[in-house]
């Protein structure tokens, strides 16, 4: 190493919010061009730390703050920006109605005094930024027409236009497919090679370990430590983040003697999947994995009556069913928890209680046909207790809950319909490690009570640990069936990611 100054060097960072210590004596440093990961569960202080470094919050007195070798007494958002610190927010902050070029070179259009827009210079700046990332995009396309992954790239390019030398990326891959994630990681490597430091925040530990050279772990507002990622395992990192050891032994049981609940034969839908056959038994957790685009979600939609199959049959407890709508599917005992839980599963500003009863409104209406507040209360109390949802009051808005608890509310909503078959589509997207364990504990409990569960996930390790059997779907077909007790995780991953 030369005596090149660190990109950022912070020490003794503390932050107190109304008596709650969000951050206590935390040190954080990142070298120039380093890819560094910031890991920790939700609420561990990651966002507070980012906000201190970007000048949004001021730390308590006594903190040492250094940006690119320069000691600073205080940092404001403007100072941070001028020094080259940029944040790619999780919710992007781009302009969908404007073109790619305008979004990237937006900075050139800022300022209170009106000036003429120089579209030529604008395009040139945008093009140069994309060239530095070694990607090409249609500069005149409306941003809103691009997939999320391309918008991420636009956000990064915008940071480069403002000469960023250190970029924070908050959960950049949360909504990306595997291929898109790989492309993004390639962009991060390019940035790093050009001397731009990247601080990566992600719940996906595999990619954290793959992309970064060091990881800083926070827990409950305190620094656990800074570790090189070489030699670090996901299990060890999880332990450091949660302070608990998780049992990750395979939970599979032999269920071949249990009665069949759902039987699918030769199910096909053009362009989505073809000739899918499998059985799902009472009390069984059947894992369904495969790359995004393999047809998993499309299959789930057909099973849930949201799309009609072209060929094949579905039998529920021996009787052939053809759902014309998902209401019929719910009535017959099929429940589906969607992948996009935040957008589709919950009505965020409404209360926990109202969300939980949404799919069973008919059961809480009294003799008058109007909703009975008492029945609603009883039903909600039952499921809050059953699923150990951590809530303030049932009347609080769902948006006040953490990701894991929101997931439980969605589960409660569907379990209240008393289903026989529960389809879980990527239930842990955006949920942190500790909460994931909680969700899978509930899944196992529900299975033990006799529910048949189809667990869809693109994280092979999740289904390997939690499912009794695993189906691998590829290119719209069932490519193989595996028994986790006989197939190692490495073999299964090799088959899926091949």
């Amino acid at each position: 190493m030369t005596d090149e100054p660190r990109a950022i060097r912070f020490s003794n960072m503390s932050k107190v919010f109304g008596g709650v210590k969000a951050l206590q004596d935390v040190a954080f440093d990142v070298g120039q061009g380093e890819v560094h990961c910031l890991a920790g569960e939700n609420g561990c202080g990651k966002s507070t730390l980012i906000k201190i470094i970007t000048g949004v919050y001021q730390p308590e007195a006594g903190a040492g703050m250094e940006l690119f070798g320069e000691r600073l007494a205080a940092i404001t958002p403007n100072v941070a920006r001028q020094k080259g610190i940029a944040v790619i927010w999780q919710d992007l902050a781009l302009f969908p109605e404007m073109t790619v070029a305008e979004n990237i070179a937006f900075e050139t259009m800022l300022g209170n005094r009106p000036r003429l827009v120089d579209y030529g210079a604008l395009r040139a700046r945008a093009e140069a930024a994309l060239a530095r990332l070694e990607v090409s995009l249609d500069l005149d396309a409306r941003l809103g027409t691009l997939p999320i992954a391309a918008r991420q790239v636009v956000a990064i390019a915008r940071a480069l236009v403002s000469d960023a030398r250190l970029i924070f990326m908050d959960e950049p891959t949360a909504s990306l497919t595997q291929a898109e994630t790989d492309a993004l990681l390639a962009v991060v490597r390019t940035l790093s090679a050009r001397g731009v430091a990247v601080v990566f925040v992600s719940h996906r530990l595999a990619e954290v370990l793959e992309i970064s050279s060091r990881v800083t772990v926070l827990r409950d507002g305190r620094l656990v430590g800074v570790y090189p990622t070489e030699g670090m395992t996901q299990a060890r990192l999880t332990e450091l983040m949660t302070g608990k050891t998780f049992d990750s032994h395979v939970m599979a049981r032999d269920t071949s003697a249990d009665p069949v609940v759902l039987e699918v034969e030769g199910l096909s839908r053009r362009g989505e999947f073809s000739d899918v056959s499998f059985v799902l038994r009472r009390g069984e957790v059947l894992g369904l994995t495969g790359l995004i685009g393999a047809g998993r979600t499309e299959l789930a939609h057909v099973l849930f009556g949201m799309a009609a199959p072209e060929r094949g049959t579905v039998r529920l407890e021996g009787r052939e069913v053809r759902f014309a709508s998902n209401r019929e599917a719910v009535a017959a005992g099929v429940a589906y928890v969607s992948e996009d839980r935040l957008a589709l599963g919950l009505i965020q500003p409404q209360s926990i209680s109202d969300n939980a009863v949404l799919s069973v409104l008919r059961r809480i209406t009294g003799a008058s046909g109007l909703m009975s507040p008492r029945r609603q209360e009883d039903l909600v109390a039952h499921w809050v207790r059953e699923l150990a949802v951590k809530i303030g009051r049932p009347g609080d808005a769902v948006s006040t809950l953490s990701g894991g608890n929101q997931q439980r509310v969605v589960l409660a909503k569907w379990l209240a319909t008393e289903p026989k078959v529960l389809i879980l589509d990527c239930p842990t997207v955006g949920v942190d490690v500790g909460a994931r364990a909680g969700i899978f504990r509930i899944v196992r409990e529900l299975a033990a009570q006799g529910l048949a569960i189809l667990l869809i996930s693109d994280e092979v390790s999740e289904v390997h640990v939690n499912a009794d059997r695993v189906l691998h779907m590829a290119g719209g077909r069932i490519a193989g069936e595996y028994d986790p007790r006989r197939t190692s995780l490495a073999d299964l991953e090799a088959a899926v990611y091949a």
């Binding site: 302009f95 404007m98 800022l110 003429l116």
Partner: protein, 330 residues
């Protein structure tokens, strides 16, 4: 062609509908496609278009304004009263006064929206009532019939005698053209205009990027108020009188025309071309019904149906239909 369709999907479809309508009416009515009829259509819709481009800027910035037509009445009254008070004045003073009063009323809206963080539809419904109530109260509903001479004398910019009568273009059309050009310049060519789009598109993103939010509201509503003021003065010029309750109700027609022209109520989208086409479609439809001898009582109904049909049609993606068939990009 495809570039135009991609950049202006709503406008392109509207243009297609308008062309069809014009073609149909040309066949159905011999009077429709005459210079006399066309120029009178343009003269009669100049005021609507001036309002439309003012409202467009507010819609682009993510707001809505219900109060502008009433504001135009207030400006008419204030400006004419002031002009009479100073002994007549002239065009330069008149336009300057109308713009100034208009901007003032627009800034009232902007200040209420920004200062109290109330959504614009609520604020402008309130100011719509407040402006109109104050106007009726202080004028006791009395009209002004004796305008300064220069204001009530029609100014012909161009005229031509045809077999069926005189065709002419009057002053309000030139004023409208200037307003259109100025608005186009503001929103397409200046950084401020692009900031307005960005602010309407994603207010939080704009705030984080460092855009001055108060300035955006002030410019959007100030511009809308300024256009309302100019439109008010032009209306007084055309009708040669100031009637306090003459303009109330026009705001919804203009709003429908602008939205028809592709401006989005959520902000971030809209163009001057769209405004022109939207206003033109409604005007041509009404004119056609008139020429075909349809009862005026049916006008509103037919115009309503046309707006609904055009807005539904705008959900069809023409660019995608014209594009060569191709699989999803990988």
């Amino acid at each position: 062609m495809r570039d135009f369709l991609r950049a202006y999907p709503a406008e392109a479809k509207l243009l297609a509908v308008l062309v069809l309508l014009v073609a149909g009416l040309s066949v159905a009515s011999p009077e429709f496609l005459t210079l006399v009829n066309i120029t009178s259509l343009v003269n009669n819709n100049a005021v609507n278009l001036i309002w439309a481009v003012g409202l467009l800027v507010v819609l682009i910035a993510g707001g809505i304004d219900i109060s502008f037509a009433v504001a135009a009445s207030v400006v008419q009254y204030l400006a004419v009263t002031a002009l009479l008070g100073m002994g007549g004045g002239g065009w330069a003073v008149g336009i300057a006064l109308a713009m100034a009063f208009g901007i003032g009323l627009g800034l009232v809206n902007a200040a209420l929206i920004h200062g109290f963080r109330i959504i614009s539809i609520v604020v402008t419904i309130s100011t719509f009532n407040a402006f109109f109530g104050l106007l009726m109260f202080f004028t006791s509903g009395k009209s002004i019939y004796s305008l300064p001479d220069w204001l009530s004398r029609p100014i012909y910019l161009w005229e031509l005698q045809t077999e069926i009568g005189w065709a002419d273009i009057r002053l309000p059309v030139a004023v409208m053209a200037v307003c259109l050009l100025a608005t186009w310049f503001l929103i397409r060519r200046t950084t401020t205009g692009r900031q307005l789009y960005a602010f309407g598109d994603n207010p939080e993103g704009a705030r984080r990027a460092g855009i001055n939010i108060w300035l955006m509201q002030a410019i959007a509503f100030g511009w809308c108020g300024m256009m309302a003021g100019i439109a008010g003065l032009m209306q007084a010029h055309i009708t040669k009188e100031v009637v306090p309750n003459a303009l109330i109700g026009r705001e919804l027609d203009v709003l429908a025309a602008v939205v028809l022209g592709g401006a989005r109520l959520g902000g971030g989208r809209g163009s001057v071309l769209g405004c022109v086409l939207g206003v033109a479609l409604v005007a041509v439809a009404q004119n056609g019904l008139n020429l075909l001898g349809v009862s005026p009582y049916a006008f509103k109904m037919v115009v309503g149906i046309i707006i609904l049909a055009a807005i539904s049609a705008s959900n069809i993606d023409l660019a995608a239909m014209l594009a060569p068939k191709r699989r999803d990009r990988e």
